[in-house]
Assembly symmetry: C2
Homo-oligomer: 342 residues x 2
DNA sequence: TGTTAGCACTCTTAATGCTTGACTGCTAAT
DNA sequence: ATTAGCAGTCAAGCATTAAGAGTGCTAACA
């Protein structure tokens, strides 16, 4: 059922005012502050209808109305007036992104910082590239007689400090040869493909077998080690500045979800509808999220291929206008940077 | 003035009991639970004397006694009965430290994890090596025509992903030559020395000047970028499990100090007495620390040279026995690992 | 001189009841 | 369809009370 224009307007007012003041919105406030031409009694009947439809709730019989999860979703997708960032904010974004961004990890870190600073909420990002990312080149760098550093250049990332053991008696020339062999074998393959690779080591190559296994192990170690750090977070403390988190249990719940990371990782990677901006709200559907908190995410892609997701987590009563504006701007910059690198 | 044996015993009891129960300790509890042969009235006069001496305080006239900062310090240095870790805990330590520890950063991360898991508090570590660490080898690895990866092997660390720009027209052979030149120049020098290095580029070497400057810049970037991440933290959420942090302001204060990092960095690097275990308590002297919280630190050294500091931050009412036991054990392991690497 | 019992005093904490004010929902009139 | 008015509900703040925990002091005792 489609809402009447007036209902939409009232709903928008409720959400806006509630985000602004954190106080349940009463019919009186609406009629006096926003709609002087309509009496509070009229508003009351509209509010009551909106409640019936599931967009509003009351904390108790004699309190004003508070938006429901549904209302926030509708607000972000339809009702909300899109905001533009100020010149100052845009300059800040540019300034941060100018810093050392040769490594994709740094691009993420910069993005996280910008998002959390400008929005005032905790920012999160998860890279979904790792599994699909392909190897461009592998290079061994011997620096002890029985150790080598494996340097792996991928399409998007640079994996480093994966040490492997090599046989002491192997000469530098032999190592070079092994390098070339493995390089040829691994090139243009994803990690997944490599892990499933079955190789016949014929006589002449049997010396490489140890190295081969060590490299695979290093890759696996990299995977399992990074699996939990794939989720990056910045501005954890931001949450404390919002009056929504006044009681200790709320803060605990929030920080537990954010610091444990795995729950968040689940939610961020689960369904990935092709929406530009995705809003998930704790309770009603997303029980893993802290109660009454929202996760607003966006995805970024390079050459049409989705690479990761980034976003903001905070109270449901969140400044969605700013958050969406920040996410969209940062998204554009990330995509242009990554496309450039290619 | 030296405390009488009985006063010491009572003080120890107060601290132990307070750590255990989080309830101000009364004369009655002491006499009934710990010293049945003495009446509560006697304890009362002893307590009152200890308060006079600055070891105990009262929250209000009719409350039990709570240890002061002085009391905690004395407790850790003299009074406390040292605890030994259980077989299970020791096994856990070993298990964690077996994981991928080729890189010093991972040694730290492992240590942080162990410390925070076993103690139940937030763990912190700061490396003081960076400034003094000497370069062992520098290697260029070209991978775009105008870019190279600078790989710097130091005595203890491996710096990586510092990209530098190189002149397009430079041949690989020339790059090799430049590599050798810079390697020779930087070898066995600390970063500080390198930054102050004045080099005369005579005619034949003038082509390296760009590279030289780029490398220095990369090092500097590394420095300034890492300056704030030099402080590593694990288990931030641990603080929430302790009943000392029941009101929101305490949590806020704590998290602000811990997440902003710079205050903590100051405190951890400031005075470094050669004590094995160092206790700093918020309020009274260390205003930068959150109120009523303690920072317990230890330092580790390799070949007699101090390299860094690690520790635990949590409520003053902290399980010092466990914390000290964990720190000492982890310290021994770190030192043996680092000594091995040499 | 050190120890103890007893008692008065202080202060916190929790429970209770009361008042005020902010809303709503309903109804009847416009 | 809108509005004004009114009764009913609930939260929040405030004062009062009672109970309980713990101390300090004093006087008596070994």
């Amino acid at each position: 059922m489609e809402l009447s224009e007036r209902k939409k307007k009232i709903l928008q007012i409720v959400v806006d005012d509630y985000i602004d003041t954190a106080v349940p919105v009463s019919s009186k406030v609406i009629s006096e502050k926003y709609m002087q031409n309509v009496s509070s009694a009229t508003i009351r009947s509209e509010l009551s209808a909106l409640e019936e439809l599931g967009y509003l709730t009351q904390l108790h019989t004699s309190s004003g109305r508070v938006p429901s999860a549904e209302a926030y979703k509708l607000y972000v997708s339809d009702l909300m007036v899109k905001e533009h960032l100020s010149k100052k904010e845009l300059d800040y974004i540019k300034e941060i992104f100018l810093q050392k961004a040769d490594n994709i990890e740094n691009v993420f870190k910069n993005a996280l910082k910008v998002i959390s600073e400008l929005s005032g909420y905790t920012s999160v990002a998860v890279s979904q590239s790792a599994v699909e990312d392909k190897i461009k080149e592998i290079r061994f760098f011997r620096f002890r007689e029985d150790k080598a550093l494996v340097l792996i250049v991928t399409e998007l990332k640079l994996l480093k400090d994966n040490y492997i053991e090599i046989p002491k008696e192997m000469t530098d020339a032999e190592l070079e040869e092994a390098n070339a062999f493995i390089n040829k074998l691994f090139k243009e393959k994803s990690f997944e493909e490599i892990c499933n690779l079955e190789v016949d080591f014929d006589e002449s190559f049997s010396g490489y077998k140890t190295i081969f296994i060590n490299v695979i192990d290093a890759l696996k170690a990299y995977f399992s080690a990074k699996e939990d750090s794939k989720l990056m977070i910045d501005g954890q403390d931001k949450i404390l500045r919002h009056k929504d988190f006044l009681d200790v249990d709320r803060i605990k719940e929030f920080l537990e979800v954010v610091t444990s990371k795995d729950k968040l990782l689940d939610i961020m990677t689960e369904d990935n509808r092709e929406l530009k901006i995705n809003v998930k709200i704790g309770s009603e559907g997303y029980e893993k999220l802290p109660k009454d908190s929202s996760l607003v995410t966006a995805s970024y892609s390079v050459h049409g291929k989705k690479i990761g997701t980034y976003g903001v987590i905070g109270p449901s009563r969140m400044d969605y206008q700013k958050v969406v504006a920040v996410l969209e701007n940062v998204g554009r910059i990330i995509e242009s940077i990554l496309a450039d690198k290619e």
